[in-house]
C-alpha cells in the first residue's frame, strides 16, 4: 500500500489516481483477509458432517466497502495540519469550573436517572432502562474506579481484576447461604475478604512490572476462575450458586408480601421498586469508591502511589516503601472490586463462573484505559459509552429491518468492543481525558499536558 505523499505538489488527477491505486490495494488486502473466513462458512449437516456454505456476497460487500472507505478517507481528509503551538485562550480556572460543573451535572443526572426513566417509559418499560442500562453501567463504573486505583494511580497493570470481583461475589453468596447473613453484613465482609486476597496475590508480584505484571495477574485471575469451576462441593462448579438473598431496605424486602416494601408504604407492588432501590445502592457504592479515591489522593499514600506510577526507581531512592505502597493499592482496589461483586451477587440472585471470565477483566481495563488512566470522570464517561453502547445494540430493531429477520445485533457486541479498543488506542492512546491535574502543586494548579503524562513506565 503506497501512501499518498501530502508534501509534494501534485496535480489533482495524479492524486486521484494515486488514491484509487491505494484504495485498490486496500480492497485487495480486504479480499485476502476475507477469504476464506468470510467466504465459506462451515456448517454441520444432518449427518453431523461439516459442509461449506459459500457466501461470496459478503466478501463482495466487504471488499467494496473497504475500497469506498479508503478512497473516501484519502480524498476527503484534510491536508496535514501543522501542530498547533497557540496556547488555548481559555484560562485554566475556567476549564476547571467547566469540569466541575460537568461533574455536578453528571451527578445530578445520575441521581435523577431512575425517575426520568420512570417518567419517560412508565413502570413496565423503566425496569429495562434502570436494570440493563443504569445498574449495569454503574457496576462497571464502580469496577472501573476500583481498578483505577491500581492501574491509574499506582500504575500497576492488573489483568486479573475480575478475580476480586469473583471473590466478593462468591464470599458474599456463600456467607449468605451458609450462615444466613443478610446482604448488608455480607457486603463489608466481601470487601474485606477481597482486599485480603488482593494482598495475598499482591505479595508474589511485588517485583514485577509492566507486561509481566499484567500476565501474572491474568494467570491469577484464571486460576481463581478454574478453582471456582472445579471445587464443586463449595462453589457448585458450572452450576454456580443460586437463591442468593436480595438486599432489603432496613429489613423491608422488595416483594409482594404483607411486610414488603410496597405494603409498608401502601404502594401498589411493582418490581420497579427493587430496580430503583438497587440503582441507588450501586450509585452510593460507586460514589463511595470515588470519594475514597479522591481523599486518598491527598494523603501521603496517594502521593506515593502516583510517585510509584511515574518512576519506581526514583520512588525507591527517595525512601518510599514500595512494598506497602503497592500492597495498599492492590488491597484497596481489590476491596472495591469485592464490594461490586457482593452487589452483583445480590442483584442477580445467581452467580456462576461464567460471569468472571478474562473478558470481564479486559472490559474493565479497557474502560479505565479509554477513560484516561487516573481520571475519575474519564472512567465514568468511558463506562457509559462502552457498556451503554454495547447494551444499546440489543435495542436496534431497525437494523433487523435492513438486514433481514435473522440479523442479531447483539452477537456483534464484543466484536465492536474489541474494534473500539483498538481504534481508541490509535486515535487517543492516552484515553479520552488525557491531561492530568496534579494532586499537589507549588503555587498554581496547572494541568499536565497529555504528552508529558507517562504512566505505565515502571
Amino acid at each position: 500500500m503506497a501512501s499518498l505523499r501530502a508534501d509534494a505538489p501534485q496535480s489533482p488527477w495524479r492524486s486521484l489516481a494515486n488514491a484509487v491505486t491505494d484504495a485498490l490495494g486496500a480492497a485487495l488486502l480486504a479480499l485476502g483477509l476475507a477469504v476464506p473466513i468470510l467466504a465459506l462458512r462451515t456448517e454441520q449437516n444432518i449427518s453431523n458432517e461439516l459442509i461449506l456454505q459459500p457466501r461470496w456476497g459478503y466478501v463482495a460487500i466487504a471488499v467494496a466497502g473497504t475500497f469506498a472507505a479508503r478512497l473516501g478517507y484519502l480524498l476527503l481528509r484534510s491536508p496535514k495540519r501543522q501542530p498547533r503551538r497557540v496556547k488555548s485562550a481559555v484560562p485554566n480556572s475556567w476549564r476547571e469550573i467547566a469540569a466541575r460543573s460537568l461533574a455536578v451535572v453528571g451527578l445530578g443526572l445520575l441521581a435523577l436517572y431512575p425517575l426520568i426513566a420512570l417518567a419517560l417509559t412508565g413502570k413496565a418499560g423503566a425496569i429495562k432502562w434502570i436494570d440493563n442500562f443504569g445498574i449495569q453501567i454503574m457496576i462497571y463504573i464502580m469496577l472501573g474506579w476500583g481498578l483505577n486505583i491500581v492501574v491509574g494511580l499506582a500504575g500497576l497493570l492488573d489483568l486479573g481484576y475480575v478475580a476480586f470481583y469473583a471473590v466478593g461475589a462468591y464470599s458474599s453468596a456463600l456467607l449468605a447461604q451458609n450462615f444466613g447473613l443478610s446482604f448488608w453484613i455480607c457486603l463489608p465482609l466481601a470487601g474485606i475478604l477481597a482486599a485480603f486476597w488482593g494482598i495475598l496475590l499482591g505479595f508474589p508480584v511485588l517485583r514485577l512490572r509492566g507486561d509481566y505484571l499484567a500476565i501474572v495477574t491474568l494467570a491469577f485471575g484464571e486460576i481463581i476462575r478454574l478453582i471456582l469451576i472445579n471445587w464443586v462441593p463449595v462453589t457448585g462448579g458450572y452450576a454456580g450458586i443460586s437463591g442468593i438473598p436480595r438486599p432489603t431496605l432496613l429489613g423491608l424486602p422488595f416483594n409482594a408480601s404483607e411486610e414488603g416494601f410496597a405494603a409498608f408504604f401502601h404502594l401498589e407492588f411493582s418490581p420497579v421498586h427493587r430496580a430503583i432501590f438497587l440503582f441507588y445502592v450501586i450509585l452510593a457504592l460507586a460514589l463511595l469508591t470515588n470519594w475514597v479515591t479522591l481523599r486518598l489522593r491527598r494523603l501521603p499514600i496517594g502521593r506515593a502511589w502516583e510517585a510509584l506510577r511515574e518512576d519506581e526507581i526514583a520512588c525507591r531512592s527517595l525512601g518510599i516503601n514500595t512494598t506497602t505502597t503497592k500492597l495498599t493499592a492492590f488491597a484497596i482496589g481489590a476491596g472495591f472490586g469485592g464490594f461490586a461483586g457482593a452487589f452483583f451477587a445480590a442483584r442477580q440472585g445467581f452467580i456462576s463462573p461464567e460471569s468472571f471470565t478474562f473478558m470481564e477483566s479486559a472490559i474493565v481495563l479497557a474502560i479505565v484505559v479509554l477513560g484516561g488512566m487516573g481520571s475519575q470522570i474519564g472512567v465514568a464517561i468511558a463506562a457509559v459509552a462502552m457498556i451503554g453502547g454495547t447494551e444499546i445494540l440489543r435495542e436496534l430493531d431497525w437494523l433487523r429491518r435492513i438486514f433481514g429477520p435473522d440479523f442479531e445485533p447483539t452477537q456483534y457486541r464484543m466484536l465492536l468492543f474489541g474494534l473500539a479498543m483498538v481504534l481508541v488506542m490509535i486515535w487517543k492512546p492516552r484515553g479520552l481525558i488525557a491531561f492530568r491535574m496534579p494532586s499537589i502543586f507549588l503555587s498554581e494548579r496547572r494541568r499536565v499536558r497529555a504528552d508529558l503524562v507517562q504512566e505505565g513506565h515502571g
Binding site: L40, R41, T42, L208, F358, G418, L419, M421, P429
Partner: protein
C-alpha cells in the same frame, strides 16, 4: 512404565505445537518488547483457515490424495495467516509505536477480542468436528496390560516441527533478514541508522511468527479433530508460558519451554487431576515470572536509569 512412555510421547507432540506458537510470542517480544496478546487468536484463526481449505479441497474439489491436499492447505494457511498478521501489525500496532508502554498491549487485547468474535460471528459459535484423517497407529511396545502406541499424526507433528525449526533456525542465523532482526532486537535506532528498514523487519517478524502459528494450527486441527472460536485464549496463554519458561526472546528457549509445558500438562493430567491441568500451567507461568523472570535460557535484563 508403558503408561509413562505413552504420556511422554503425547507430551512431546503437544509440546511441539506449543513450541511453534511460542516462537511467535518470543520473537515479537524480543524485537519490540510487546506481549502480542492477539497471537493466540491468530493461531485460532489459522485452524479455521486450515479447516475451510481442507474441506474445500477434499469435498468441493474432490482431491484424492490426502497428502497433497494437506500440503496445499499448509501453504495456503501459512500465506493467509501471515497476511492477517501483517495487516494486524500494520493497522493496530504500528501506529502505536513510540506511544506509551501499555498502548500496544491494550490494542493487542482489543485485537484478540475482535478476532475471536469475528470467527464466532462468521463461522458460528459451535465446535467444528474435523473429518478424521491419518488414523493409522503404530504399536511400539506391548506391555502386560498397556500398549504404547505412536500414531502417524504424532509422527507428522513432531517431524514437521523439527523440519520447520531447522529451516527457521537457518533463517535467523544465516540470512540478511535474520541479521537485521537480531540487530533490531539489540538497538532499533542504531539499526535504522545503519540502513536497516526497521518497520519492514518488524513486519516480517510478525509474518514469520504467524506462519509458524499457521503450521501449529493445521497440526492442532489434525491432532484434536475439533476446532472452536474460543481455542485461541488457552493455547495462546500456554504458548506464552512456554516462551516465558524458556526465556523470552530466546528461540531455543521457546521450543524447550514448549516441550516442557507439553510434558508437564500431559503428565499432570495423567497422574494428578485432569480438571486442574490449566491451573498447573498458569501456576508455572506465575512462578516462572516471579522467581525466574529471565527463564531457563534467557538473558537477565538489567535496568538502566
Amino acid at each position: 512404565m508403558e503408561y509413562l512412555l505413552q504420556q511422554v510421547i503425547n507430551g512431546v507432540t503437544l509440546g511441539s505445537i506449543y513450541g511453534l506458537i511460542a516462537i511467535g510470542y518470543t520473537m515479537v517480544f524480543g524485537i519490540i518488547g510487546m506481549v502480542n496478546f492477539a497471537h493466540g487468536d491468530v493461531f485460532m484463526l489459522s485452524t479455521f483457515i486450515a479447516l475451510i481449505f481442507l474441506l474445500a479441497l477434499t469435498q468441493t474439489l474432490g482431491f484424492g490424495s490426502l497428502a497433497l491436499a494437506l500440503l496445499i492447505v499448509l501453504l495456503l494457511g501459512m500465506l493467509l495467516t501471515s497476511l492477517w498478521a501483517w495487516a494486524i501489525e500494520r493497522l493496530a500496532y504500528r501506529p502505536l509505536r513510540g506511544s506509551f508502554r501499555l498502548a500496544p498491549l491494550i490494542s493487542a487485547i482489543g485485537m484478540s477480542i475482535f478476532l475471536s468474535n469475528l470467527v464466532q460471528v462468521t463461522q458460528g459459535p459451535r465446535n467444528k468436528p474435523v473429518p478424521s484423517s491419518l488414523e493409522t497407529v503404530l504399536t511400539l511396545r506391548e506391555g502386560e496390560n498397556y500398549v504404547v502406541t505412536l500414531s502417524y499424526k504424532q509422527l507428522l507433528i513432531v517431524g514437521v516441527t523439527v523440519l520447520l525449526l531447522g529451516a527457521f533456525w537457518y533463517l535467523v542465523q544465516n540470512t540478511a533478514l535474520g541479521r537485521a532482526q537480531r540487530a533490531c532486537e539489540q538497538d532499533r535506532r542504531m539499526a535504522s541508522l545503519l540502513g536497516i528498514d526497521v518497520d519492514r523487519t518488524i513486519s516480517l517478524t510478525f509474518v514469520i511468527g504467524a506462519a509458524l502459528a499457521a503450521v501449529a494450527g493445521l497440526l492442532f486441527m489434525i491432532y484434536y479433530g475439533v476446532v472452536s472460536f474460543s481455542d485461541g485464549f488457552v493455547p495462546g496463554v500456554k504458548a506464552f508460558t512456554a516462551a516465558v519458561l524458556g526465556g523470552i526472546g530466546s528461540l531455543p528457549g521457546a521450543v524447550l519451554g514448549g516441550l516442557l509445558i507439553g510434558l508437564i500438562e500431559t503428565l499432570w493430567s495423567a497422574y494428578f487431576s485432569i480438571d486442574y491441568k490449566d491451573v498447573a500451567t498458569f501456576s508455572i507461568l506465575a512462578i516462572t515470572l516471579v522467581f525466574l523472570p529471565s527463564g531457563l535460557l534467557g538473558k537477565p535484563e538489567v535496568e538502566k536509569v
